[in-house]
Symmetry: C2
Subunit: 258 residues, 2 copies
Amino acid sequence: MNSQAKRLNKILEHLRKNTASSVKRLSEELNVSHMTIRRDLELLEKQNIVETFHGGVMLRFAGLAGKNNDYSLLQAATSMAEEKIGIGEAAAKLLKSEDIIVIDSGSTTEYLARALPRALPLTVICYALNILMDVTKRENCDIIFAGGQYHTNTLMFESPEGIQLIKRTRASKAFVSASGISDRLGVTCSNRYEGSTKQAVMETSMQKVLLADSTKFDRVRSTCFADLKDFDILITDEGIPPEYREYCGKEGIELIVV
Amino acid sequence: MNSQAKRLNKILEHLRKNTASSVKRLSEELNVSHMTIRRDLELLEKQNIVETFHGGVMLRFAGLAGKNNDYSLLQAATSMAEEKIGIGEAAAKLLKSEDIIVIDSGSTTEYLARALPRALPLTVICYALNILMDVTKRENCDIIFAGGQYHTNTLMFESPEGIQLIKRTRASKAFVSASGISDRLGVTCSNRYEGSTKQAVMETSMQKVLLADSTKFDRVRSTCFADLKDFDILITDEGIPPEYREYCGKEGIELIVV
DNA sequence: CAATATATGTTATAATTATAACATCGCTAT
DNA sequence: ATAGCGATGTTATAATTATAACATATATTG
């Protein structure tokens, strides 16, 4: 790891502790010139990790900057950011007043959490820290959080009791993310605990919406939690392969491309 | 409520959503001059509610500024702040490596969450947003969160499943807060849901530590969840009435006064 | 090892924010 | 009503931060 990467990690560490900081403080803390800090922050800002303003910086993705994530992981989490913003906004447009929605864990779903229309009264069910942090900032919003053991790499909480809580709850719409989508091998994620929770969500929601950027197609991960055709709506970006467009048409899945 | 109080609430509301902001943004948002904002922020800073720096402001007690708390409530939450800091630090001194601890909801316990020694590997069980936010910033720390319905005024999550999760978990030490303490009428809190959760915690922890500033003595709230003598340790400040000192001696409760 | 590229530091200047003193507005009490 | 007072707005000046261009140091590559 080069010195810049080290510094970027130190900056993020500092921000995780303090949420916000100033260029001055950072340059003093890290013993580098203010220009170096500025250039570092510029990088971090381009990747949507921090937000700068005259006099300071603040963490944007408080959640995603989980304590064990180093800079490279953060990069991954912020890749395809533009596409994900579009997907989140498109998902938010589906919402109606009094909807009871599940927001799954993941970085794509976080953009939905941010795009939730402030005016609509909603009930939100979730189980990931980044989602929770966005939702608790909202008003007009009942929150149900399924707790459990905290997983720092996915920012997700999981437990039998959490799954139980989801199972006795009913949602009008579930917004689910995935790490891999294959017509033949189904919709997959990377961890067993994610799979169990997602399955519970699929069981208890009226409408199931899959949120995934186009890099997820024709990719598999270890844990399959649903068939693609189990979903009612698929929201993705222009990069979706033609054969998946066809598949959606054939299976009656509403396709929303942003 | 006069116009200044209204504005202070609006500022806090804005900060709750954005964590940090700038004088410029606030003055534009609220249509007042930057001087007015500055004077408002000066007030809020004096009360330890926000922290200002060149170019901006940020919330200090992110958790405590729950969205439904108005300005007057915030004041209450930050009262006895010095005593509470001491109590939190004293509680942190009790911790040993590999301890499994419960941190109850409340403002006093938040100071413990902040004072957790960074070096010690710990498992933390909690169910309140302000505690969670502090604990997730830490490393060397397994987190178990008991979820449920979110209560904005106490920042606490509660559900049968959450209680179930607590009940099947064992802790070496529980750090519990209270709204009222009476030798005759027991230890009380304000809400039924708080009581059920606290009771579950009392049942499943080896050592029970009560954290309360001295304003809580000889005060009762609606929901009783324990007798004072059920606790092994009581941490409070110098203001503790003499009769409670005696009571602790008689009942074998270790008293720590900060 | 030289040559090049990249990262960091320095400086001067521009832009923004902070402070302080004073002016004005609007409420309250008589 | 109006005098008085507190709250808010205005302005000029000081302090701080941002930007850009250039200089220097450090790392990389053939």
